[in-house]
Amino acid sequence: MQQKQTFSAQTLTLSVAAAELGRAIFGAGQTGSVRAVLLSNVLAAAAFVLLAALASVNASRLNRPGFAGKCICAVFLLWYLFELVRTAAMLQQACWEQFASMAFIGLLPFFLWAGWSLGCELYDRMASVLGWLVVLGIVFCVLGLAGQLQWQVLVTGETAHSFVLPDATFYPEYFSFPLLCMSKNNAKISKKPIVWLPIIAAVISSGYALGLALLFGAPQAYPGYELLRAWSFGGISRFDAAFLLLWLAAAIFRFGFIVRAVRLLCERLAEGPVNAEAAR
């Protein structure tokens, strides 16, 4: 039986969530006001949703064989390679700073081999389980922080700040629907989950910024992982390590997904003109 060569929306969602969580946890701190951060996230998300929707609607044009299609494929290949390096750097930073471990470097060849070898369907199935675990972890985090949040920060006046461009990162997954989720046989796959990706990233980023502000006030220069360290539930107070391990699992999953996506894009680029004619 031919292996499935496309990913589902769940895989892309988990990948984006892992990336955005990593950016929030290992971020340098929040110097602007909370309202500015939230507003900029909303604006950025709206813009990305529009762009993602455009990309999904024009999927067939972006996905066509020929020189234009190969150029688009090459651009996404480079973008994913950049994300691969960035994710690896984030993983190594987490392992070294939080766990004093160089094991990620040592296991890097294994991760590359596993990411290259595992099928798309396996990623989809793993994403449905791992995604739920991440959601549960977030809920658990919120429960442990709920009693410490200072809600009056939301209504406290803030000093005026000059306009700052939104500090939002956009990921190649937003626009990858035509390349990674569509094949010749399932052109009618729903595009809605892909369009929601920027909103999920915005929710994670905004929620984390809001949590930091409600806990420590705004502006503050605490790094993002201080929010996890503030977690406490009765006598247990070190859930940050458990959540970091959960994030580590999601980030390694993203690493593997990107490697697989790179493989898919390389195979597409390597497809000859005969296949392109057959596709038409």
């Binding site: 392992c95 766990f99 004093a100 471990s101 094991a103 990620f104 040592g106 296991l107 294994f110 596993a114 595992l118 396996l122 199935r125 793993m126 449905s128 389980v129 791992l130 006598g235 070190r238 390590a241 391990l245 580590l248 699992a249 390694i252 999953f253």
Partner: protein
């Protein structure tokens, strides 16, 4: 295929050449209506008493006339008289070739060969000595049937037929292409099982060439070929009610002659955590037990690895009082904690395997020695520490809550401990991802092993049985989910 000869002497010579040296081969020459014949059977497989009482009864009730002009002479005429015009309860299908003759004789039937006839009459006079229907040693339950499958295939088929009393149950038998020509059966409900899946199973088993076939599990490498595998999308049961329930879910069951273990396919991961008792108790209690079983399974896999990871790499996460006790215990032992944990896990496996294989008369002695050596002497001598033994013992007991997952759990436990001990938290996370990948990579006939059935009304938490009965579950609903 060697056809039977019309000459009785040739047929007997062929049988003597094959089985003459065997002490249980029985051939009795007789004469019927002045026609030479012979009864052939295997002693202690066919019952001679049943045979003679059957023949005498039929002969006294329906004896043809002895008029000279109507007295048959040739073997064919005698065969026709006995088969079609007498009260002999012979089988419908006669024997025509040597292979079929051997197959019937090894099934415990007696065959009547006649001189001048190329066909043989078959009588079902089996008197096989076999283990009776008893309660199986595994799969314990508090309520429900105590019957278990026996070793004979025909007995097992009758146990299923007794439970599913509809015309939808189909039980196809065939002989495996192996040295022992073992008989097997494929059972399914034709209104629930997928026709393509049944056809695929039938074809696969026909083409399978095991060297010997002693159990239904021997078919798994042909049904689901893989270079390596931790979990198999099949389950086994020795209880007819469990097998009948699986058949009503549209699953396919394979039974092999000589083994009481029925192979059920396709199977879901969540089915390892339920049992017959689940539906005999309240939904709340059975849900509690299932949650306990899930927790025990994951505890048995991850507890040693998490313990090693925390104690060696992340001691700041352990509460101080517990940390002091662990540190004090480890200070007194010569081996590092990681090596200790591996050693204890392997020792417990050795003890378990020894307990399983040894004669029962020695069982108590060995258990006592093992408990003393590990539980007392090793700790007293300072070779092993109490926390490590405690953790290993908890995992060893936890795994028996789900005995069907014992094999993968044992290997995974070792793998997780190795990964956590060598690579710390990163290794632990990789091992967890590896377990997830191992579970999600399996599917059988389009049904994923880790199906979303976990969150259905009969997954981790079970709904009231009346609610479940409103929407009967069929395994093929999970196909592609």
């Amino acid at each position: 295929m060697l056809q039977l000869s019309s000459s009785l002497e040739e047929n007997l010579a062929a049988l003597n050449a094959r089985f003459g040296a065997s002490a249980d081969f029985y051939a009795k020459r007789i004469e019927l209506y002045h026609c030479p014949g012979a009864i052939v059977l295997f002693d202690n497989m066919a019952s001679l008493e049943s045979l003679w009482s059957l023949l005498l009864d039929a002969a006294t009730r329906h004896t043809p006339s002895l008029e000279p002009e109507r007295m048959p002479h040739t073997g064919t005429q005698v065969y026709d008289l006995l088969m079609n015009h007498s009260g002999l309860p012979a089988e419908d299908g006669p024997v025509k070739d040597m292979d079929d003759l051997i197959r019937r004789m090894t099934a415990g039937m007696a065959v009547l060969l006649l001189d001048g006839c190329k066909k043989g009459l078959v009588f079902s006079v089996q008197g096989l000595k076999s283990r009776s229907v008893e309660e199986p040693s595994g799969e314990g339950n508090l309520r429900g049937s105590r019957e278990g499958f026996a070793d004979l295939l025909r007995v097992n088929l009758s146990l299923l037929r007794r439970l599913i009393r509809t015309d939808t149950l189909v039980m196809e038998t065939a002989q495996a292409d192996c040295a022992m020509k073992t008989e097997y059966a494929i059972c399914y409900c034709k209104d629930k099982a997928s026709k393509t899946a049944v056809a695929r199973v039938r074809r696969t088993l026909q083409e399978a060439k095991p060297e010997v076939l002693l159990d239904s599990s021997y078919f798994v490498p042909w049904l689901f070929p893989a270079r390596w595998r931790l979990f198999a999308p099949v389950s086994y049961t020795e209880r007819p009610p469990s097998a009948a329930a699986k058949l009503c879910e549209g699953k396919i069951i394979i039974l092999v002659n000589g083994s009481p273990s029925a192979l059920v396919l396709p199977s879901l991961f969540c089915e390892n955590f339920d049992c017959l008792d689940d539906y005999a108790t309240t939904a709340v209690f059975s849900s509690f037990l299932r949650v306990l079983k899930y927790g025990s399974f994951y505890l048995s896999i991850f507890l040693p690895g998490v313990f090693v990871c925390l104690a060696v790499y992340l001691p700041e996460l352990i509460p101080p009082q517990l940390l002091f006790k662990i540190a004090a215990a480890e200070k007194a032992t010569p081996l590092p904690l990681f090596a200790e944990m591996l050693l204890v896990i392997i020792l417990l496996e050795i003890i378990r395997e020894a307990g399983l294989r040894m004669p029962q008369t020695l069982g108590h002695s060995v258990s006592l020695v093992a408990a003393l050596i590990i539980g007392d002497a090793a700790i007293g001598a300072g070779l092993l520490s109490t926390p490590v033994i405690l953790v290993a013992s908890i995992t060893a007991i936890s795994v028996f809550v789900t005995p069907s997952l014992y094999e993968p759990a044992t290997l995974l436990r070792l793998g997780v401990t190795l990964a956590a001990g060598l690579a710390g938290p990163v290794g632990l996370v990789c091992a967890a991802l590896g377990v997830l990948a191992a579970l999600t990579s399996i599917s059988a006939m389009g049904v994923p092993y880790l199906s979303g059935a976990v969150f259905s009304g009969d997954g981790v938490v079970r709904r009231n049985y009346r609610t479940l009965s409103r929407r009967p579950f069929t395994i093929w609903q999970r196909r592609g989910s």
